[in-house]
Symmetry: D2
Subunit: 163 residues, 4 copies
Amino acid sequence: MHIRFITTGGTIDKIYFDALSQFEVGESVVQHILTDGLVDLEYDVVSLFQKDSLEISDMDRKVLLDYIAADDATRYVITHGTDTMPETAAVLSDIDGKTIVLTGALTPARVRTTDAVFNVGMAVAAAQVAEPGVYIAMSGQVFEAGAVRKNRAENCFEATDRN
Amino acid sequence: MHIRFITTGGTIDKIYFDALSQFEVGESVVQHILTDGLVDLEYDVVSLFQKDSLEISDMDRKVLLDYIAADDATRYVITHGTDTMPETAAVLSDIDGKTIVLTGALTPARVRTTDAVFNVGMAVAAAQVAEPGVYIAMSGQVFEAGAVRKNRAENCFEATDRN
Amino acid sequence: MHIRFITTGGTIDKIYFDALSQFEVGESVVQHILTDGLVDLEYDVVSLFQKDSLEISDMDRKVLLDYIAADDATRYVITHGTDTMPETAAVLSDIDGKTIVLTGALTPARVRTTDAVFNVGMAVAAAQVAEPGVYIAMSGQVFEAGAVRKNRAENCFEATDRN
Amino acid sequence: MHIRFITTGGTIDKIYFDALSQFEVGESVVQHILTDGLVDLEYDVVSLFQKDSLEISDMDRKVLLDYIAADDATRYVITHGTDTMPETAAVLSDIDGKTIVLTGALTPARVRTTDAVFNVGMAVAAAQVAEPGVYIAMSGQVFEAGAVRKNRAENCFEATDRN
C-alpha cells in the first residue's frame, strides 16, 4: 500500500504573517499531520502549487491532471483550497483506475481547532478503502466528484442532490 | 448516512490528574473531535465503558457484541484502548451486514501531538466507504479484523502477515 | 491582590473566517488563557474595543485613559494590538499610582504556536510585582512605556536605546 | 538582561509513554516554550535533574543551592515539580543578591490545556522585575519563598497566611 500526497495550497496551509496582518499560504502541513498521526504507511509528498484555490487556474488543473495521468502511483491524497475543490475534482474524473481523494480545511491547520487533521485522516482512509474514482473528503463525509459543492454560507460541503 | 459512535475508554480519553501524578481514563473526547472536525453528518455517541483496554473483559466484549447485534444502526465507530483492540475486533466479526470500525490513540487526545484526531477521521471515512465488516483504523491504515496486531515495541499496528 | 483586564482587540484575538478568507478580530481570548493558566487570583475582564491597533484612534486612547483614571482598580493588564501598543502605553503614562501592563501577540492566540499565553503570563506577573507605572510585556521582556518600539522587520519589540 | 534557566524535571516535562501506559518525565520543554513565546532575551538553559519533585532529595537541593551560589548569573528561572517546589524555594532563600523564580505546571506542557506556558511567562517577567529574592510563580500569582504552599486538594498554590 502506497499513497502519494500532492499539495496545492489552500486554507489548510495558511500562516499568519504579522508583518502583513494577514494569512498567506505557507509550507504544506501534510508531513506534520502524518507524523503526529503516527502514520506507518509507504508514502511520499509532492508539492505542485502553493495557491489559494481561487487562484488555481484551468491551466493549473490541466497540469495536475497530466501529472497524475502520467504518474505511476494508484492512490492519491490531494490537499487543495476549498473554494474550487469541486471543480478540480470534476476535472480529475477523467482519470481511470486510480483512487484520488481531495481534501483541505475550512480552518488553517496551524489553528488549534482546525478541521485539517480530521480531514487528512479521512482522506488517507478513503484512498485505501474506496473503489477507483475521485472523491472529496470534507465535513465528515466522503463525497463522489461531480456530486458535491461547497456551501459557503453554512461553511460546509454538501451533496448536490440536497435541496 | 448515519454513524453511531460507541466509546469504551482507552488512551484516547486519558487525562492527567496531578493529585495522583498519573493519567486516568476521562470523559470521551469524541464529541470534541467531531466538533473541531466540522463534521456535518447524522451521528450520535453512546458511552458503554470508560476503561483501559487491559481491563476490558470477555464479559464486556459480550456486552458490546450484543449491543451492536440488537441495535438498529448499520455503521459504527468504536473508540477503544489499543492493547486489546484486535481481540475486541475479532469478537465483533460475528456480526453480519454492518460496517464497524474500531479506532483509538497511542497518545491521549488531550496531548498536543496526539494521533487521536487523525485516527477518528480515518474511522469516520472507513465507516462510510468500506464494505460491511469489522476494521481497525490505526497507524495510518485500515486493517481487517483478524489480520492485525499491535506491535508494542514499535508502538504501531501492523498486518499479521508481516514478518 | 486584584487585577482588572481590559481588552481592546489586536492580533491576539484574531480568528480566521473562511467565508472572507481572512482573519478578523474576534472575542477576547483572555478568559480562556486565564482558565488554562489555572489562575487563582481575583480578577475581572472589561472589553472596551475590538479593533486592530492600527484602527485605535487618539479618541480611543482618550477613552481608555479616562476609564482607567476614573476607575477604582490599581493593577491592570491591557490586551492590545502590537502596531500601536507603544503609542497607547505612552498616553497612559500620565496616570499615577497604578501598575498598568500592556501585552498582546504577534501570532493569534488561536494558532498553535502563539506567543499570546506566554505574554499574558508575563503581564500578570509584572502587574503584581512591578512598581506603579506603565509597561509593555512582549518578546520575553518587560519594557517601560516611552522606551520601547515594535521592530516590524524583525517581528519583535525592543528598547529604544538599542541601535 | 540575561536569564539562566535551570530545569529539574516535574510534571511540566511529563510525556505519555504508551508502552508503559503512564507518564514519565521527559526532555525539558522550556526551550520550546521560549521559542513559541518569541522571547528575544539573552538566556541559556542548564538541565540539572530530570525528576518528579517527590524524588528530589535534600542532597539534590544542596547541589542546586551550591550551583547557583557559585554561578555568575544573577537572574534565574527554575522549572521544578510542584509537590516539593516550596521546600526547594525555602532552601534557596539563603542566596543573596540574586532573583530566583521557581515555576512548573499542574498539567504537563505537552497537554493542550497546560498551565506551563503561562507559568513560564510569569516566571520570566518576575525574574526581570522583582527585587533580589526567591519566588514561586504558580496559579497566576508570584509568591515569596517561605510563604507559600501547594494545596493538593484544590490543585493550586496559595499563600500560607490563608486559612
